[in-house]
């Protein structure tokens, strides 16, 4: 089984480490960083994952040509950004402007600003331990399906208890932008919960 074949080289490393050279070490060391960079630029997590994979493959192929003059992380991020640019060129689209939410919001409200779909019951609050576990599994699915820009805002404020100013400066946006993102995240989450959570129980709220 793959898990049991672990050479010392492929242990996850946290502390100081000599210049590396195994795929497991690279991925463990830089994977999350590259993923965050990709997520901030593309519309969904699956695409972000693919682009991170493309970047690692390209970097691995040309690792001999890495001259070591910059940080490896800087080099990897540069490769990733090229892959992101390629992705948008192939898709024939402009990169998503951060803050351009108009089209999605129009799918929730009509031209008069009224809900397109009715607001149904949601069956909160929860009743007991089992309901809580099930609910949180569904929450995790729904939050992970949010477009990354919305998911990150929601995560900072609601999951990590960051203040508005902390969250907005971390994301590099204004507090108003942050409020709009959180609002959109809540709209989408509510819809996802309505679909999945309700499927399992009788609405009573």
């Amino acid at each position: 089984m793959e898990e049991t074949i672990q050479t010392p080289d492929s242990q996850p490393v946290r502390a100081q480490v000599p210049p590396t050279d195994s795929p497991d070490q690279w991925v463990e060391r830089y994977g999350d960083l590259l993923f965050r960079v990709a997520q901030a630029r593309v519309a969904d997590r699956a695409i972000a994952e693919d682009l991170v994979q493309d970047a690692f493959l390209a970097a691995w192929k040309s690792r001999a040509s890495f001259d070591g003059r910059s940080q490896r992380s800087t080099w990897l991020i540069a490769i990733l950004k090229r892959k992101v640019a390629d992705h948008f060129r192939k898709a024939g689209r402009q990169p998503e402007a951060i803050g351009s939410f108009e089209d999605d919001r129009d799918s929730v409200f009509d031209e008069r600003g009224v809900w397109r779909e009715p607001i149904g019951k949601l069956s909160l609050p929860l009743d007991g331990q089992l309901e809580q576990q099930e609910f949180w599994q569904i929450m995790e699915t729904c939050v992970s399906q949010l477009p990354p820009t919305l998911g990150q805002a929601f995560s900072l404020r609601e999951l990590q208890s960051a203040s508005s100013s902390q969250a907005s400066s971390r994301l590099g946006i204004t507090r108003k932008n942050l409020a709009v993102r959180i609002h959109r995240a809540r709209l989408l989450l509510r819809r996802c919960l309505e679909n999945r959570w309700l499927g399992q129980r009788e609405p009573h709220g």
């Binding site: 795929p23 690692f56 995560s155 409020a179 709209l187 509510r190």
Partner: protein
């Protein structure tokens, strides 16, 4: 006293009211904003229900143990272990 924002109050529809309901969870609304929401809720059951559900959801998340919230945040922010294995394997498989 600031003059009330009459345009906000008179022309507040679901799109605006739902945004204000969301913002009310995170900051104090102005007097005009509160009036706009109250008046709109008076005529719109959807928005009334939406605001109530938002409050319930917000409270549910806020009262969850920190460990649960933070571990969810961490999983969202990172490449999944499955993805990491797949990528490392693809690197090993790539002709080099």
């Amino acid at each position: 006293m600031n003059s009330p924002d009459l345009r906000l109050i008179l022309y507040c529809q679901c799109q605006q009211a739902s945004l204000l309901a969301s913002e009310s969870l995170d900051r104090k609304l102005s007097l005009s904003e509160r009036i706009a929401v109250i008046l709109h809720h008076g005529i719109c059951t959807h928005c009334r229900r939406f605001a109530k559900q938002l409050r319930q959801l917000h409270k549910l998340i806020a009262s969850a143990p920190a460990a649960l919230r933070y571990s969810l945040a961490e999983r969202l922010d990172a490449l999944s272990p499955v993805a990491k294995k797949r990528i490392a394997q693809a690197m090993r498989d790539s002709a080099n």
